[in-house]
């Protein structure tokens, strides 16, 4: 077997290539051959180290050193120092990277992994792997050294806020549940992650289930509960099975059950599966569903902390919230609070989607700007297009335009910009996106998922959807914008739960920032982004058309006419705007007007 003592991974992402990554690889190879190290050090091409903006960049293993800005001229020096003399070359190292890499092993400089620290690193079906990563140490610490009040105090001091979306201080919630009268109390984990495109909870449940179990056990100790429920959506069968295995292993080791670690504290857990209803992510609806009823929300107060599951005081937190608790207990409130902004401490996971070069799940400290997330972590907009807006917070969130790109991200600043943190979904939209169409998409979703219990949400969302649909179809009327504004206000103030109260957000935010697009649709019968089918016309440019007949032969409704080698013409009345002609044309002669 051939062993290399060191591997050099050079990033060959487009940006690094532009900055000479291939030249760097060649120079490294040549130098390694010249120094006779080629059998000991292997150079590999890779992608996504995360520092392309400082590129070209490379990682050197096993040390895990991240070098940036190395030119072929620097290579002889670097090889001599690093590989011959074994000295790290500080001048190519970014200090930030060094600190983060050492502490948390995060893949990019901007990311900090606390929630996701074990995901993809440990075997989720082997409890020993979790214990090796300091698992259940925090539970042992609270059970043997801390009073429940001290646990709550630590969580309060850490500044942790509910990661399900609303951002209520977790320590306070625990305090309320602890102080609520009653002998029987419950802890519940909300794992009903329903926002389209957001899958941070799935990743934690499947990749690090014990962190959630441990966090829940600590919460149970703090509030005085002995039974917990994890409510997981049925769309996540793998997560449910991983959780059940993890719970069984924890029981076998005595980390769940009676007299945990000889402390006299009893706690056990059960997984409850949903059956496909988005509204069950709302805490009172979730409780109704665990009780075996229709998952319909009820008015609050009373809050679950006072009257929850079977009318007993119940602490409901999100997966992400519970999963960071063990870390906070072990490393201290000050450590956690050292990340983030004044009012929003720690880190948050976001699911990046849409027109970005790198989509996926990230974890960043609060206070990072949208620009850093989109351009540094997400690699910028696809195909070099311009940024238009980012939809944050799922279907109940809003669209934030370019002027907020430098806003430091936290719960308060997002509210100010007209959206919510939500579960952390981020859909980046480029210049080709029609904002009315985006609002319509989200309204279609909430209208479908409205549980129907209260009228403003049930009927109101449907009316909004009808108006938006008619605007997109070119049938918008004078007064529609004002009607939308009225309806949004009514639904927001009169709905029973967060779903209805948040449902108008996509419309309100697009009206706030992109009102001109609504106006163009209604008054000029024009879709500025050329998306809404009823408002666009396919035409053939006489300059580019060669008369090859491909478009005419492919048109499903025979709307295209023209002789061979003559310019073809599309009949706008017959055309169904399917766009096939545009796809098949080899000369880019079909244009949208």
């Amino acid at each position: 077997m051939k062993y290399y003592r060191s591997h050099v991974l050079v990033c060959v992402d487009p940006e690094c290539l532009q900055k000479g990554a291939h030249e760097l690889v060649d120079a490294l190879q040549d130098e390694l051959v010249a120094t006779g190290l080629i059998d000991e050090v292997q150079v590999l091409e890779t992608s996504r180290i995360g520092g392309c903006s400082l590129g070209p960049e490379m990682m050197v293993y096993p040390e895990g050193i991240h070098y940036v800005g190395v030119t072929p001229d620097d290579v002889p020096y670097l090889v001599e120092e690093h590989f011959l003399k074994g000295r790290v070359v500080n001048k190519f190292q970014t200090p930030v990277t060094k600190a983060v890499d050492e502490e948390l092993g995060a893949p990019t400089q901007k990311e900090v992994r606390i929630v996701l620290r074990n995901c993809g690193k440990i075997d989720p079906e082997n409890i020993e792997d979790y214990i090796a990563e300091d698992g259940y140490q925090a539970l042992a610490k609270v059970l043997t050294e801390m009073k429940p009040e001290e646990v709550i105090d630590t969580v309060l001091k850490s500044g942790l806020r509910g990661r399900g979306g609303a951002g209520f201080p977790t320590g306070k919630k625990w305090q309320f549940t602890r102080q609520a009268p009653g002998d029987i109390k419950y802890v519940v984990c909300n794992a009903d992650e329903g926002d389209p495109g957001a899958f941070m909870n799935r990743r934690v449940l499947e990749g690090d289930p014990h962190s959630v179990i441990e966090g829940m056990a600590i919460a149970a100790y703090a509030i005085g509960a002995h039974q917990g429920y994890i409510y997981c959506r049925a769309e996540y069968p793998v997560a449910v099975s991983t959780l059940n295995i993890a719970i069984q292993q924890a029981r076998n080791l005595g980390l769940l059950g009676k007299d945990i670690l000889g402390s006299g504290f009893d706690f056990d857990l059960e997984v409850r599966m949903g059956a496909g209803a988005f509204v069950c992510g709302e805490e009172t609806a979730l409780i109704a569903s665990i009780e075996g009823r229709r998952g319909e929300p009820r008015p609050r107060p009373p809050f679950p902390a006072v009257q929850g599951l079977w009318n007993k005081p119940t602490n409901v937190n999100n997966v992400e919230t519970y999963s960071v608790v063990p870390q906070i207990i072990l490393k201290g409130a000050e450590w956690y609070a050292s990340y983030g902004t004044e009012k929003s401490k720690g880190t948050k996971t976001f699911a990046l989607a849409g027109d970005l070069n790198h989509t996926g799940l990230i974890e960043v400290p609060f206070g990072i700007t949208l620009r850093e997330i989109i351009y540094d972590v997400g690699g910028g907009i696809k195909d070099g297009k311009a940024f238009k807006a980012v939809q944050i917070g799922g279907p109940m969130g809003g669209c934030v335009p370019a002027e907020y790109l430098d806003l430091p991200l936290d719960y308060e600043s997002l509210a100010q910009a007209g959206t919510i943190m939500g579960s952390g979904g981020m859909i980046v939209l480029d210049e080709d996106t029609c904002m009315v169409d985006v609002a319509r998409y989200f309204m279609d979703f909430t209208q479908e998922e409205s549980c129907g219990k209260c009228t403003p949400c049930r009927v109101g969302t449907r009316r909004i959807l009808e108006i938006l649909t008619r605007i997109c179809e070119g049938k918008g009327r004078d007064g529609d914008i004002e009607l939308l504004e009225d309806l949004c206000q009514e639904i927001r103030t009169n709905s029973l739960c967060g779903l209805g109260q948040g449902a108008p957000n996509p419309v309100v935010s697009t009206l706030r920032y992109f009102r001109h697009e609504y106006e163009a649709h209604i008054y000029e019968k024009r879709c500025p982004a050329k998306v809404c089918r009823a408002l666009i016309r396919y035409e053939i440019s006489p300059e580019a058309c060669t008369g090859c007949t491909v478009c005419a032969r492919n048109c499903p409704v025979n709307a295209i006419s023209g002789e061979r080698r003559q310019t073809h013409v599309i009949d706008p009345d017959t055309c169904i705007r399917c766009g096939i002609c545009m796809q098949v044309c080899n000369f880019n002669a079909v244009i949208i007007n």
């Binding site: 329903g194 495109g197 957001a198 899958f199 409850r272 059956a275 009780e291 699911a351 996926g360 998409y441």
Partner: protein
């Protein structure tokens, strides 16, 4: 007649085993309904009646719960249920074409069952595997990176 008796015997048997597994308690209603739905493909009226008798809950309540959740069906379904993810992330990476191909191949619309009783096509909300979209789930198998051309081959794996 005998076929029908056999069928209702089977229904009662499934209900019994589900109640035995979870217990005849009100809070276990959703797991019980889920189990019956999984075993029989849907929740027949006879099952509803039996559960109502055993749990001492009115049928109207049971129907209220069963009709509330997307994944529970009170109408018969095909031997295999195809769930298509209709969320935005899948939609933008070619989901529409896959959906069209499914409808074309099976000759049915969403929420319909093929005349031979083999397939039912339904849509589902986000399955959280957006990076490998478009995503299709058949019974309990999940398929990612599906493209329209792969549909006939995937369907052929099912009896």
């Amino acid at each position: 007649m005998s076929v029908e008796i056999k069928r209702s015997e089977k229904v009662i048997e499934v209900v019994n085993s589900a109640i035995e597994k979870y217990g005849a308690k009100r809070e276990e209603l959703i797991p019980i309904l889920n189990e019956v739905n999984r075993q029989l493909g849907y929740i027949p009226t006879e099952a509803m009646e039996e559960i109502s008798r055993r749990l001492k809950e009115p049928k109207s309540t049971l129907f209220g719960v069963a009709s509330f959740y997307h994944m529970l069906s009170t109408k018969p379904r095909g031997r295999h249920v195809i769930q298509f993810c209709e969320s935005a992330p899948c939609h933008v990476v070619g989901g529409r074409e896959v959906f069209e191909a499914l409808k074309e191949e099976l000759q049915i619309e969403p929420n319909e069952t093929t005349p031979d009783g083999k397939w039912t096509l339904i849509t589902t909300s986000c399955l959280g595997v957006c990076s490998v979209g478009p995503v299709v789930v058949i019974d309990e198998d999940i398929y990612g990176n599906v493209d329209a051309r792969k549909i006939p081959e995937i369907l052929a794996r099912y009896e």
